[in-house]
């Protein structure tokens, strides 16, 4: 007997490449290494592109550039103009440095203003470009900037780039090729995820970021090219008090995520719209974004998100694996290295799920019933994402009646219930079984640690529910047993293998993925 999950491959066809030259997937803000050829590069169309935008860069460009897409300013002149535009004190300018690591360990500098106020600071980011070929210093005339449009509740992206060392800079106010790093991965259909700023290594020890003076940096001081430290532009951007610590940037980035997540969750207030609501639910099932966790130097401490789903912390269960947020691996043994750059579920996607619960569009119990499926795979569960693909296809083919509904929030539980159904097709009998993981009125969950277990396919087809159906407390206890076991001696190698699996998946599907060190060759 052969079982085949009814995956709808057609829905994953909408692949978008990040950048224009295929070489720019080196993380932390999109990389626009190719020539920018957005719609307004022809003289005269800049104002049209800016029309209706209410962000500080648009305001600045209207004043400074008028209708010309050409400006004379390098990054410094632009920042001075933005300081004036935003009203932020010059002393609040901070430069945060991340080493881009796909080609070489070259710094990308990200600048914020009003940096002592995360909410304000997250309204504007400027980033330098990554190395496109043996640069000896940051290119002062090649940078991108992002600004928050408070009216449209979205980030707008701009690119500034000179064609030659002495030439003026062209402004691209709609660089489409840059945006793909900041939205869906290549294995998901584009459109539902808003442009989202990226800080891949969001948590302590912020691998590859400068963490000083607050903390000791992790894989930064030993990897940065010492010659760059004295290079004129890099030095000017990081001199004195300008150099900011990753911990501060984390705070600013979380504020940026709050902006995008909050704006996205407002969709639930709109009039009922099936496609909109499906887009709101997708991050619960498919990993639209990823973050990367590392052990805190040699301490063995690492985020619990490395092995369990962080969204379950917002339940009221009384278990350490939920409530602590951190776990501690055994001491590093000879031949081992601390886990570094372990893909974990993306904070942006996770916060959408949390927000649906705190806004009571869904219940914590709904979340548990989903997260209990393939729970040993908190990120990159193709099974959960297939549930979405299958379910959304069914829903779009036969949409529910929304006439009695007033908002998308009314539609959320209806669509979620349908997405929690899963089809298994038996080629021999030509039968399709539809399995409901959230039957109405049931007070049980399906405890399926690993859907790649060969017995799961068969169990789903025959409905051997007694093997998997359980109560919430038992599920929690089972997860805790696993959680505790992973902190026992010898388990780092198990997690290391999982890190490699996830790392290969991230590199293959997420254009913004950083270098995941020492994972060896990935299967095609």
């Amino acid at each position: 007997m052969k079982f085949r999950h009814a995956i709808l491959l057609g829905l994953v066809a909408g692949i978008v490449a990040c950048g224009s030259d295929g070489s720019d997937s080196d993380a932390n803000n999109s990389t626009c290494t190719g020539k920018c050829d957005g719609e307004n590069n022809d003289n005269g169309s800049l104002l049209a592109t800016l029309d209706g935008r209410n962000d500080p860069i648009a305001a600045y460009l209207r004043d400074y550039a008028g209708d010309s897409p050409i400006i004379e300013q390098d990054y410094r002149g632009f920042l001075d103009g933005m300081i004036e535009q935003t009203g932020c004190a010059p002393s609040t300018e901070k430069t945060f440095v991340i080493l881009m690591s796909r080609r070489r360990h070259f710094p990308r500098n990200i600048v914020t203003l009003c940096s002592d106020d995360p909410a304000k600071a997250s309204e504007f980011f400027m980033s330098t470009q990554s190395d496109v070929g043996g640069l000896a210093d940051i290119n002062a005339k090649d940078y991108k900037a992002v600004a928050w449009d408070a009216t449209a509740r979205k980030y707008n992206l701009y690119e500034f780039k000179a064609d030659s060392e002495d030439g003026p800079l062209f402004v691209d106010a709609d660089p489409q090729h840059c945006a793909s790093c900041h939205t869906e991965p290549t294995n998901l259909e584009p459109g539902a995820m808003p442009f989202t700023p990226i800080m891949n290594e969001l948590t302590n020890p912020w691998t590859l970021w400068n963490a000083e003076p607050e903390f000791r940096s992790h894989r930064f001081d030993e990897l940065i090219d010492p010659d760059l430290l004295d290079a004129p532009v890099y030095s000017a951007m990081t001199e004195g008090e300008k150099l900011g610590a990753a911990s501060q940037f984390e705070s600013i980035m979380r504020s940026a995520l709050e902006k995008t997540v909050g704006a996205r969750l407002r969709i639930r207030r709109n009039a009922p719209n099936v496609e909109e609501t499906l887009g709101l639910l997708r991050p619960m099932f498919c990993d639209e974004s990823v973050n990367y966790a590392s052990e805190n130097h040699d301490s063995g401490e690492i985020s619990t998100a490395a092995i369990v789903d962080d969204s379950m912390r917002h339940t009221d269960w009384a278990y350490d694996w939920i409530n602590d947020g951190r776990m501690r691996l055994d001491s590093v043994q000879a031949g081992e290295t601390p886990l570094a750059v372990m893909p974990v579920r993306g904070e942006a996607a996770l916060q959408v799920e949390v927000g649906l619960v705190t806004r009571r569009a869904l219940t914590p119990y709904d979340v548990l019933r989903l997260r209990s499926i393939d729970w040993q795979r908190p990120v990159f569960s193709e099974f959960r994402c297939d549930m979405y693909r299958q379910g959304s296809a069914r829903i779009l083919a036969d949409p529910p009646d929304t006439t009695a509904m007033s908002r998308n929030s009314d539609l959320v539980p209806v669509l979620f219930a349908e997405l929690m159904k899963y089809e298994v097709y038996d080629e021999d009998s030509d039968e399709t079984v539809v399995w409901d993981f959230a039957p109405e009125g049931a007070e049980t969950v399906y405890d399926i640690p690993d859907v790649t277990d060969p017995s799961v396919d068969e169990a789903l087809f025959y409905g051997l529910t007694e093997d998997y159906e359980t109560d919430v407390e038992t599920l929690a206890t089972n997860i805790e047993t696993y959680f505790d076991a992973m902190q026992e001696s010898g388990q780092r190698s198990v997690l290391e293998e999982e890190r490699r699996r996830r790392g290969c998946f991230a590199l293959a599907n997420y254009p913004s993925s950083p270098d995941v060190p020492d994972i060896g060759a990935c299967a095609e």
Binding site: D117, F215, S247, Q248, H297, A318, D320, R359
Partner: protein, 393 residues
């Protein structure tokens, strides 16, 4: 080896010279784990790190890694320090026992109203025994969502010792700076758990010095380089374990290890062995009041980059100067926006812990210039530096 640290700052030393030579604290010790009391109704579930089946060795190794290997030094020439955020295992399981590090935290927030504004009274969430979360109806949620960019509440971090009953200076003339409409006062802002007291801290120091002086503790074996007790922090952690069983915390083993090293290295205040060196670390309330008045309301709060700095989004509350014209720096407020609150309605205090707890740092000032050390024949005297409280292994 027999060396002497020059004492050059006579003023600081003189201040400490006045301390009596008593070897014990003013009141009985109260360092027992606070979170065992309510475990009777926990259905047998674990609640503290010690209840989880972890051995003392594992717990001390964990703390040792935090202190020595996590990229943020806890021992400085001028201070001992640790973050306010609790260790793993201190959480809301069965009951909320967060706030075990001579630092407690909670949230104060305005409550959004259905008509787009705020209810009249703010609420305090996460104080021991109080409500943890906030329940809002749909209209209130919409209001809060519309207020997502506004600062709707604040996280309060307090290191005001539980047994310091002296009112704030600013209370005398009603000049205390409000936190979300609430003026700091003892009932709402002083730490609540008895372990977070001056007496507990002072007693911890005294007991650790006493045990060290008595020699009744595991000292290791310098002939055996693998002996874990040769490591100063680990050894001090086990002194804590033997005394109070609180080795799983961040604070207690750090304080005890530093105290132990003071004793092992023959440290005195200004070279006068009759003066209690323990009071150099934590002067008791009685000692303070008997001389200049209260100047240590609690251990000052700062962040990793400085004793007088705070994480982004946080501010010191101006509560007036204490004795010695000391701004106590014991009350810190950190902003909580509407977007923060709506994502953490169930437990805003946990938001405070997650967002600020690792970066709001307790500093125990050490008058290093007044401390003089003359290592004797203790087996660990050979590793004494001129600042032996700076534990590096």
């Amino acid at each position: 080896m027999n060396w002497k640290l020059n004492v050059s700052i006579a003023v600081a030393a003189a201040a400490l010279m006045a301390l009596p030579a008593c070897g014990s604290s003013d009141e009985p010790a109260n360092n027992a784990p606070a979170n065992n009391a309510n475990n009777a109704n926990n259905g047998g579930k674990d609640d503290t790190p010690t209840d989880k089946g972890l051995t003392s060795s594992e717990l001390c190794e964990a703390r040792q890694k935090d202190v020595l290997e996590a990229g943020r030094p806890n021992f400085l020439p001028t201070a001992l320090r640790w973050q306010c955020g609790d260790v793993e295992g201190v959480d809301t399981n069965n009951r909320d026992d967060r706030g075990q590090e001579y630092c407690e935290y909670f949230a104060i927030t305005r409550v959004p109203s259905a008509d787009g504004g705020y209810e009249a009274d703010p609420v305090i969430l996460g104080r021991q025994g109080g409500d943890l979360g906030l329940t809002l109806d749909d209209d209130q949620l919409f209001t809060l969502e519309d207020l997502s960019d506004e600062v709707v509440g604040e996280c309060v971090f307090t290191s005001w010792h539980q047994d310091v009953l002296v009112p704030l200076t600013c209370e005398a003339d009603d000049s205390c700076e409000e936190v979300v409409g609430i003026k700091p006062n003892g009932d709402d802002f002083r730490m609540q758990i008895s372990i977070n007291s001056n007496n507990a801290a002072s007693d911890l120091v005294q007991q650790c010095i006493r045990v060290t002086a008595s020699g009744a503790y595991e000292m290791g074996d310098l002939e055996d380089p693998e002996n874990p007790y040769n490591d100063h922090f680990y050894r001090g952690c086990f002194v804590t374990e033997g005394l109070f069983g609180t080795h799983w915390r961040r604070s207690d083993p750090a304080v005890c290890a530093a105290s132990m090293r003071l004793a092992e290295c023959g440290c005195t205040v200004g070279g006068d062995p009759s003066i209690d060196v323990g009071f150099a670390l934590v002067p008791s309330i009685r000692e303070q009041e008997s001389r200049e008045g209260l100047y240590l309301r609690g251990f000052p709060l700062g962040t990793w980059s400085g004793a007088n700095e705070l994480p982004t989004g946080c501010r010191y509350l101006d509560i007036g100067l204490e004795a010695r014209d000391n701004a106590s720096q014991t009350l810190v407020a950190c902003e909580m926006r509407g977007s923060d609150l709506i994502q953490n309605l169930q437990d805003p205090k946990e938001f405070c812990r997650q967002k600020y707890g690792d970066d709001v740092v307790v500093h125990v000032p050490i008058p290093g210039e007044a401390i003089q050390c003359e290592p004797g024949d203790h087996m660990h005297a050979g590793s004494c530096t001129d600042q032996p409280w700076v534990v590096t292994e």
